[in-house]
């Protein structure tokens, strides 16, 4: 066996294009400097707490409630967004109507509008004297300064994640597949519910995960409308800020660590589901 046939471990495949060292160097330095070192600081601070201290901070009743509220409202909002996001994507992909292009552009508003602005605007609308709040108040429904208000804010910030994940996959649906279902006798409803939506499931799941992850961490749009009542409508990111203002760094660190662990675990699970789906069905999103 000659040296050339023996396949040696190679960091990268040879390429004539120059600049690999420079490009990767810049990328890695910046990545370490801006993202990895600061984040590892958080990890290091958490581990420095020691297990018993971390556990007692993480299971503190107010912390647990804040986490429960954050994850619960984010879940509810992401679920709402899945329903309406899929309808919205469908309407944008399949139908033509006046103003469609504007609607399509407006979907990205939550990406572009600063969260603080969204927060005060939503509060103004849903406060008891606001446009919608005043309509709901006689019915005994309170939105602003309750967990429901948090859900509303998270629906706002999460919507584009679902629409923009599902929309391109919907555009690529093979018309033949729908026609095949129709020729086999399926009604339109059966075609959509049994053929099209299951095919979109990986994309919908991804959109849900992105909206959920964004919702869990969201701060700016929520704090104005939430009312921020401890144990009731206080979200985890706000509790971190409160602990920081109290100079209670260990508690802030512990809450942050718990949030990150749960978020990463969820992303990991979603990725595993996607990989499984890709292996099995030959597609994912």
């Amino acid at each position: 066996m000659t040296a050339s046939t023996a396949r040696r471990w190679q960091f990268r495949q040879p390429s004539v294009i120059p600049g690999f060292g420079l490009a990767l160097g810049v990328t890695l330095s910046w990545l370490f400097l801006i993202v990895l070192i600061p984040l590892s600081g958080l990890v290091w601070r958490t581990s420095a707490l020691g297990w018993p201290a971390f556990w007692s901070l993480a299971t503190d009743e107010r912390t647990v409630n804040a986490l429960r509220i954050s994850f619960g409202t984010a879940f509810a909002a992401a679920a709402v967004n899945v329903v309406f996001g899929v309808i919205l994507a469908w309407v944008l992909v399949r139908y033509k109507f006046p103003g469609k292009r504007i609607i399509d552009a407006v979907v990205d508003l939550p990406f572009a509008l600063p969260t603080a602005v969204a927060g005060i605007a939503l509060t103004a609308i849903y406060a008891p004297n606001g446009w919608i709040g005043s309509l709901l108040a006689p019915l005994g429904i309170k939105v602003a300064f309750t967990p429901l208000g948090i859900v509303i804010a998270l629906v706002f910030v999460g919507l584009p994640f679902v629409v923009r994940t599902v929309q391109p996959i919907m555009e690529e649906i093979d018309k033949e597949v729908e026609e095949a279902a129709a020729t086999l006798g399926a009604t339109r409803f059966q075609t959509i519910s049994r053929v099209l939506l299951p095919g979109l499931a990986p994309a919908v799941l991804t959109g849900f995960a992105l909206a959920f992850a964004r919702g869990v961490g969201e701060y700016g749009s929520v704090i104005f409308i939430a009312g921020n009542l401890p144990y009731v409508s206080e979200i985890a990111p706000l509790l971190i800020v409160i602990r920081l203002e109290e100079f209670n760094y260990p508690a802030a660190t512990a809450i942050a660590a718990v949030m990150l662990i749960i978020s990463f675990a969820m992303l990991l699970i979603i990725n595993l589901i996607q990989a499984w789906s890709r292996r099995r069905y030959g597609y994912g999103a």
Partner: protein, 356 residues
């Protein structure tokens, strides 16, 4: 089931895709719609399926007017060019789909659906693969799943759109033979679309040749090949030569030479002589023949293909000779078509049939 297409016209916007097309498909027949792209063959297939609705005209299934029925109500089996399998369903679920979506009153019990799907998978030789997903199958296997799925609903008519188009040559040949077998065993009325003349001629009981939204000719493969009734069919099916000739007193002339073919009853004037490269006889002397100078001679498998320049206009023709016949460059060859047709330089409607 017998399918009748009556005076169908179809326009997409302003663009006419089909122009007054009528066609009778006999029960149990395997029929090919053959034509170049844009000839309207796929549109016709989709109209029969109910995936398109005609601008004018009617489709009958048996005695029943199917035009008023939706695609779901027509109970047809359609095999799509790219199969359109449901990729999140197993092979078994794909095949059972048509039965599972039936309303409760017409839906067979689950066990029966399963049994019928498995039986069909056996028929298409995919037993043992029922738990696979489409992504885990080869192209040929997907094609067969698509066929089994279409047959599961006991369709009135089985419609296939370019069924072998997406397969490589070897698999295509195999599946072609196999589709014929399946058809002979199940006896479904079957219509398939193809642009491949070999496929149509080899597989179909009857071939429908289409061009520019109209049917040019309907006939058995032999009829289509041996007696094409229009310049288009002559040119589209098989190889053909075209020589401009002149009719004078019932005789054919090339320039100042009579070629020994008589067209009794033809009016005088210019015409086009059509014949196939192998439908010729060689002549030694030339009292009434076509003579040409050899420009190219190629040996292709069991025959020799010879290109000739004919007459002062150097009109090019290709003829097929036995390989032992020598045809050196610049040598002179005299021949006469044994089977030929004459078409006049007039619009298609007034084509003049005249033949030996």
């Amino acid at each position: 089931m017998e399918v009748r297409v009556q005076n169908i016209r179809k326009e997409f916007g302003r663009f006419p895709a089909l122009n007054d097309v009528s066609l009778d498909i006999r029960s149990g027949e395997l029929i090919a719609l053959l034509g170049p792209s844009g000839s309207g063959k796929t549109t016709l297939l989709r109209l029969i399926a109910g995936l398109e609705s005609p601008t004018e005209g009617t489709v009958y299934f048996g005695e029943e007017d199917a035009s008023k029925k939706t695609v779901q109500e027509r109970n047809i089996g359609f095999v799509f060019q790219h199969y359109a399998l449901f990729r999140h369903m197993t092979v078994l679920d794909n095949v059972s789909f048509g039965l599972k979506v039936r309303p409760g009153s017409r839906r067979p019990p689950a066990a029966e659906i399963r049994a019928r799907a498995l039986e069909l998978l056996d028929l298409v030789q995919l037993s043992g693969l029922e738990k696979r997903y489409p992504a885990q199958l080869s192209g040929g296997q997907r094609q067969r799943v698509a066929l089994a799925r279409a047959m599961a609903v006991e369709p009135n008519v089985l419609l296939l759109d370019e069924p072998f188009g997406a397969l490589d040559a070897q698999v295509r040949k195999e599946l072609r033979r196999w589709l014929r077998e399946i058809h002979d065993r199940t006896g479904h009325t079957t219509v398939f679309v193809t642009h491949d003349q070999d496929e149509a001629l080899e597989l179909a009981d009857r071939v429908v040749v289409m061009s520019k939204g109209s049917i040019e000719q309907v006939g058995t493969p032999d009829e289509i090949y041996d007696t094409p009734n229009s310049p288009f069919v002559f040119g589209f099916i098989g190889e053909s030569n075209i020589i401009p000739v002149r009719v004078e007193n019932g005789q054919l002339w090339i320039e100042d030479r009579s070629i020994g073919l008589s067209a009794a009853g033809e009016p005088d004037g210019p015409a086009q002589l059509y014949f196939r490269p192998h439908d010729i006889e060689l002549l030694d002397g030339c009292g009434g023949c076509i003579a040409g100078i050899v420009t190219v001679s190629r040996r292709v498998a069991g025959t020799r293909h010879v290109e000739l320049d004919i007459g002062a206009a150097n009109c090019k023709v290709e003829i097929e000779l036995p390989p032992e016949k020598a045809a050196t460059d610049k040598s002179r060859i005299a021949f006469r078509p044994t089977r030929w047709r004459l078409f006049r330089d007039v619009p298609n409607e007034n084509r003049t049939p005249a033949q030996v």
